[in-house]
């Protein structure tokens, strides 16, 4: 797992320190007038990573390892409902699906009816489609679309809406998260959930995701993350509760421990990676 220190990392450290965290304003205060949530620089970055998406020892290894925890978190969210969650024919909308790590796994679950997965990067989506062809189980349940959320037709009725709208490792790549979440809202069924995972904007996350993961160990490709776009869970909570129509926010902090994998660590959402889920009011 651990790769040796790269000789250039000390030089890079100097450069990096110049971009160290200063005061960064809450991303939610900045609203934009543009019509798409997608940042073109981000798209080209992930296009370049497309070919290694399903390589078990490639750049997406950490995401593969994290994926089972996403399902555990969704189970936690469903278990927190006072009314029982649907046990069959669940509809998923996976935004920023990438190579389809989560989308494929959601489609394989027996309780899933369908998964719609979208991503703005055509190269990444081509990899996702090619990979889904390898599993005969996915054919009827999983469909990919090369679009952003703004390009998806608005649901006409509750039947067109989704039980689970997932944003895994997405929101930190979005320039105007508030506009983006506004656009997601109409796709969620009453009583359905938005679930996401992202990173808190703290000194620790800057150190672990930028300095250690990207520069020193090189476990995450350089330039994958822009620390200034990271969002804290209080900001998400505040956004949704201010909007009204949302309830029961859930949060679960996770830490990657080399040799042990991803571990759920209570209260670590304040330090780095965390899951966040919130339920749309039933009426």
């Amino acid at each position: 797992m651990a790769s040796p220190l790269r000789p250039t990392s000390i030089r890079n450290l100097n450069l990096l320190l110049r971009s160290a965290p200063r005061f960064v304003q809450n991303q939610f205060r900045a609203h934009s007038t543009s019509t798409s949530s997608v940042n073109p620089t981000e798209v080209s970055h992930f296009n370049a990573l497309a070919s290694t998406w399903w390589d078990p020892h490639g750049s997406s290894r950490l995401l593969h390892l994290m994926n089972p925890l996403r399902h555990d978190f969704i189970k936690t969210c469903h278990a927190s409902q006072p009314d029982p969650a649907p046990s069959a024919n669940l509809r998923f909308l996976d935004i920023g699906c990438g190579g389809g790590i989560f989308a494929e796994s959601a489609a394989r679950l027996p309780s899933t009816g369908s998964v719609t997965a979208i991503d703005p990067s055509p190269e990444v989506l081509a990899v996702a489609k090619a990979h889904a062809k390898k599993d005969p189980l996915l054919g009827g349940k999983l469909s990919y679309q090369n679009t952003s959320i703004e390009g998806l037709p608005l649901p006409k009725s509750a039947d067109d809406q989704y039980d689970v709208l997932s944003l895994f490792e997405v929101i930190e790549h979005i320039t105007h998260p508030a506009n983006f979440l506004d656009a997601c809202t109409p796709f969620v069924k009453p009583g359905g959930w938005i679930v996401m995972s992202t990173m808190a904007r703290t000194w620790t996350s800057w150190l672990t995701t930028k300095v250690v993961a990207e520069d020193i160990i090189g476990i995450v490709p350089k330039g994958t993350h822009d620390w200034e776009k990271y969002i804290n869970q209080e900001e998400l909570r505040e956004y949704f509760l201010k909007q009204r129509g949302w309830n029961s926010p859930q949060v679960m902090g996770v830490v990657y421990v080399p040799g042990l994998g991803w571990q759920k660590v209570p209260r670590s959402e304040k330090l780095g990676n965390y899951f966040f889920g919130i339920r749309k009011d039933v009426v």
Partner: protein, 495 residues
């Protein structure tokens, strides 16, 4: 990622190169490809979640476990076995006769088998549990007696606890098959040889190029999301996956026999004496019966098999009683071991309390032998491939751990598959299988290594090592906590 396709291609090319010039080879390869693609359009493979090759104890318990767990009961599974399984189903021996292929099952294995509802199907009157082990050095006589101590600190390790269960392998496989038949839902292809394993092909809407496709003698083709090799030491599945298995032959054979003892012990004990040629063990079976496992040189094994029953019994009795010098001399005799034993026993002091009861009968046709090997595969997984049991490792039988390691593999692999299924993972993806190797490889490697070192340590007849190992055994015998540690290992609780 997966070395299999290039290796199989290279192998194929190499085989052809022996006979045909290069340009012809290319032509043949082209023809072969077109042949394969037409055959596949005629008959595309049937798609399975798990195809298990090998219907021995490991393969059968894998299927019983998959069918009995709620999470995995929806998987489409198949078993391929080269032998006719109806012989296993109808296996029966009259009372007082036992198969010579027996294994010691640890409480951990029994607990697993109980959990999957298979242990309940075994004929319990043919299973013998034992609570005591007597192990000693054939050269110096240093001894270690294993028996559970009275609990001194309330740890629950009480007297009368079972160390292991002696059982005929056929009793286990019959019980497992009964459980599988009861659960249903397994496509069983028995009496069928695997003709070949190749990677699948890509079609308009499906890409099976990472899926192993197993072809049977009757032309049936099965694509496996996960292909499990429970197919023994010379595993064709392991060869397909391009996984090397390394090790050596001990230049020893294990001689087995079903024995009748003089009188029935009320306390069932397993006896093992380390002779310079290898350990000789006598393990209790129900009633006055016992099973013998005598590891020795191929020449002496051949000699043992050639003796008359009465001389064979004399030599077995001598192996637990006489000095190694006396024993070596008796091996050289053409016949008459029985008289030799009577005479020599008078001049050899031994503690009647610590040796097994005298052998007075040997079951006809039960004396057989097999070569002993050490093998460990480089890994247990590949893309859409997992190995369990002897396909992954072969161990020296001195600690009776071979079958138990296989059960441990299966338990771990099934746990891994259940996790994958409940988390939407592809059960055959190498990434999903990683935790199986991480869980099992080191555990097996330690056990393989310990048994190997024991074998080598006791092969030495003279010199400082002999004194040291006796000191070691005596020290272990004197230290209850250390002894309990070894017993926990033997009982499969430490690993």
């Amino acid at each position: 990622m997966n070395p299999a396709p290039s290796i199989s291609r290279a192998l194929r090319a190499r085989q052809l190169n022996n006979y045909i010039c290069n340009s012809c080879t290319q032509q043949i390869r082209r023809q072969r490809r077109s042949y394969v693609s037409t055959s596949s359009t005629l008959k595309s493979p049937e798609i399975y979640d798990v195809v298990c090759v090998g219907g021995g104890p490991a393969g059968l318990s894998l299927l019983a476990a998959l069918r009995s767990s709620a999470a995995t009961s929806g998987l489409k599974v198949a078993l391929i076995e080269s032998q006719d399984l109806s012989r296993t189903r109808t296996w029966d021996l009259p009372e007082g006769q036992f198969s010579n292929r027996c294994s010691s099952l640890t409480p951990a294995s029994v607990k697993f088998l109980e959990g999957i509802g298979a242990w309940q199907k075994l004929r319990k009157e043919r299973v013998q549990e034992y609570e005591e082990m007597q192990v000693w050095d054939g050269v110096t006589g240093a001894r270690i007696g294993f028996e559970w101590m009275e609990p001194s600190n309330g740890t629950g390790e009480g007297k009368g606890r079972t160390i292991a269960y002696m059982n005929e392998n056929a009793n286990l496989t019959r019980g497992l098959l009964e459980r599988i038949d009861e659960l249903g839902g397994v496509d069983i292809y028995d009496g069928q040889k695997v003709e070949g394993i190749e990677l699948g092909e890509e079609s308009e809407d499906l890409d099976l190029r990472s899926w192993p496709v197993v072809e049977l003698a009757d032309g049936r083709r099965m694509a496996a999301r996960l292909l499990v090799g429970a197919d023994g030491q010379n595993s064709p599945v392991r060869t397909f996956a391009g996984i090397d298995s390394r090790g050596w032959d001990y230049n020893r054979h294990g001689v087995v026999a079903t024995l009748l003892l003089d009188g029935q012990a009320n306390r069932k004990t397993a006896y093992q004496r380390f002779l310079p040629t290898g350990p000789v063990a006598m393990l209790p079976m129900p009633g006055a019966f016992a099973t013998l496992v005598w590891s020795t040189t191929p020449a002496l094994a051949a000699k043992l098999k050639s003796l008359s029953p009465i001389d064979f019994m004399a030599l077995v009795n001598a192996a637990f009683r006489l000095s190694t010098t006396d024993l070596a001399y008796m091996h050289t005799l053409e016949a008459g071991q029985v008289d030799e034993l009577i005479w020599r026993e008078k001049h050899t002091p031994f503690d009647v309390q610590h040796v097994p009861a005298r052998v007075i009968g040997v079951q006809e046709g039960s004396v057989a032998s097999f070569p002993l090997k050490f093998r460990h595969a480089d890994t247990y997984i590949g893309e859409r491939v997992a190995l369990v049991g002897d396909a992954a490792h072969t161990i020296h039988p001195l600690a009776g751990q071979g079958l138990n390691q296989g059960q441990g593999d299966v338990e771990s692999l099934v746990r891994n598959i259940v996790y994958s299924v409940t988390h939407g993972m592809d059960i055959g993806a190498q990434m999903s299988l990683e935790t199986y190797v991480a869980d099992r490889y080191t555990k097996n490697h330690i056990l393989l290594g310990v048994c190997d070192k024991f074998h080598k340590l006791y092969s030495v007849e003279s010199g400082p090592v002999v004194g040291l190992r006796s000191l070691g055994l005596r020290a272990v015998d004197a230290m209850t906590p250390v002894k309990q540690f070894f017993m926990r290992q033997a009982a499969g609780q430490g690993m």
